[in-house]
Symmetry: C2
DNA sequence: GGGCGCTAGGTAATCGATTACATCGGGAGG
DNA sequence: CCTCCCGATGTAATCGATTACCTAGCGCCC
């Protein structure tokens, strides 16, 4: 493969001149033409490895995602990738599979590859490597999940408005005994969603007692199903369930079907996260949609600000309620 | 960040010795200890960019996937990533979004980054860049989709056994008027699946006339739905439908529901590709499961063979029929 | 005891770009 | 006409590793 020296020889100039032409500095028209012609004829492409060594910039970003097979994160990763690419960066995606060890291992690899910046949707509750990233000075942005004690901007969705709408929606449909399925205790997003929902319900005089708050051992459909089973076995079972993640919603759906219950007649079901196939379930699920692609874009922009040395704060984007038919009476429009 | 020179100074040896210790060649115990201690104290990590420049190997693979948001490809990408990582390689994933231009663009970027090898599940019908990859000598493996005229091994699943089983299954359940939803004409995988299914049906004396072969304009649920509509509008509508892709199966499900038809009573539905939520539809879908993770692993292994200069042929792994309840009578076990 | 071979480890070239600095030539101003 | 300055371009250092080649020292054998 042709290198810059070959181009220089062919054009009858020095390598410095070739570099300058290609990077848009100075050289005059005639020289410029000759260099570009040589580049064309040889099919020259700059060696980005050599360039990265010299400039100490790889034009590569890293993304460590907690579970790539969760459709919410798939879409998030896709959005990040597209935006990074649009701005001239490549992306290396690492899938932590909800394991903090694998996450740390991945971050290590990415740092070794001298990525210009890192985005992490952290598995579990924080990790040692995250602190190391910060103290090593590598620009970092937390995505979807904030991590206490890590000094980095966080880009995520905020559910206040959507959950307020949801509470109103449920109240209007006469649901009085809501329940919530939350992720394992201690994950900040789950707790926040729970508290916002509780507050919103309170505005309609509806309580959310502890027995109707089910904590799943993990973010999986099996976990969601187990929690739903317990909720439905209560002496006073709920008449509405909010699952705070799409996989747990799927598990809830399974349990409801297994018992021969009907949605929305016997139980209303709402999911946090709107993934494509929720529109295709029977009935279509009402969901709190996160602005997934916007989150991805915002994460990249925030990271680039940091990379270019500008300060950048956290970003909170509002989620919104998508009403379908799983709580009763279809939307009237 | 500490570099090899810092380590050399601290250990009181030359950089060559440090390099040798770290790469496992010669030096004697005492020196070795000193070097490793210095590495430890300084938290030294080799600069992989510099190493790549010198050795002309980046230990990075590229994967260009036709549509990352299609759950089949999500899982495939995840499997590839895990295996690559296990073998000490990083992976850059590019999502072509079923666009040949974007695919070419991506391949260009990956070549520029001097990846050691490339895997492609090609969007559309081939592309100019693929030939360029081959003639540039970059090891290439085609994944899931073969491309006529490109001299590279192809790793994919083969449906003969599964479709033979499916034909028997449908025949046993008394289905006599099967239909197929195929991807746009000209995509080799779709055509192959169609022909294998046709042959298998013939073995049971069941015909597959042209009017019951619906060709979707694209690999999407909307496309699948449109085709299903046409099939159901036939004077003699089918009593079983095989969708050759999971998204098109989803569209078929939508159309069936919209018409108030019941599965399996009014229509049997089978999908090619088994994705997680097929087990959660109502009823759970019978599907032809590709050995997705094995495909990913095989692709990485085949590629590494090529990278290390050994010849490697194509790999065909058998798909298998997963019987659930969308064709009638549950399995008797 | 001298020559030989072997090994540990140092010196320096190299990968392919970017870029600080030097040089050269020409035009403008005094 | 000379000087000064500026713009175009060349020369060479540099990024951080790997590795070919060379040297020094040691032990062994005759």
């Amino acid at each position: 493969m042709a290198n810059i020296k070959d181009v220089a020889e062919r054009a009858g100039v020095s390598v410095a001149t070739v570099s300058r032409v290609l990077n848009g500095r100075s050289p005059v028209a005639a020289t410029r033409e000759r260099v570009l012609a040589a580049v064309e004829e040889l099919g020259y492409r700059p060696n980005v490895v050599a360039r990265a060594l010299r400039t100490a910039r790889t034009r590569t970003l890293g993304l460590v995602i907690s579970d790539l097979r969760n459709p919410f994160f798939t879409e998030l990763a896709d959005a990040v990738e597209q935006e990074a690419r649009r701005l001239g960066y490549s992306l290396i995606i690492g899938n932590a599979g909800e394991s903090p060890e694998q996450q740390d291992d991945y971050i290590r690899t990415l740092l070794d590859r001298r990525i210009d910046g890192l985005m992490v949707s952290s598995a579990g509750t924080g990790s040692a490597m995250l602190h190391e990233v910060v103290s090593a000075g590598t620009p970092l942005v937390l995505l979807d999940r904030s991590v206490p004690g890590v000094a980095a901007p966080c880009v995520r969705a905020e559910g206040r408005a959507a959950l307020t709408d949801l509470a109103a929606h449920l109240a209007a449909l006469g649901r009085r005994r809501p329940a919530v399925i939350v992720a394992p205790a201690g994950t900040p997003v789950g707790d926040e969603r729970l508290e916002l929902f509780r507050a919103a319900l309170l505005g309609h005089g509806i309580a959310l007692p502890p027995e109707r708050i089910g904590s799943s051992p993990d973010l999986s459909s099996a976990g969601g199903r187990r929690v739903t089973r317990d909720l439905l076995d209560l002496a006073e079972p709920p008449d509405a369930v909010l699952a705070t993640d799409n996989l747990m919603a799927l598990g809830a759906l399974d349990e409801v079907r297994a018992r021969g219950l009907r949605i929305p007649d016997d139980l209303a079901l709402v999911a946090f996260d709107d993934v494509p196939w929720f529109a295709h379930t029977d009935p279509p699920l009402t969901a709190v949609a996160q602005p997934t692609r916007e989150l991805g874009r915002a994460a990249v922009h925030t990271l680039l600000e940091r990379i270019e040395g500008r300060p950048a704060g956290s970003v909170l984007l509002p989620a919104r309620l998508v009403v379908r038919r799983s709580c009763g009476e279809p939307p009237t429009h």
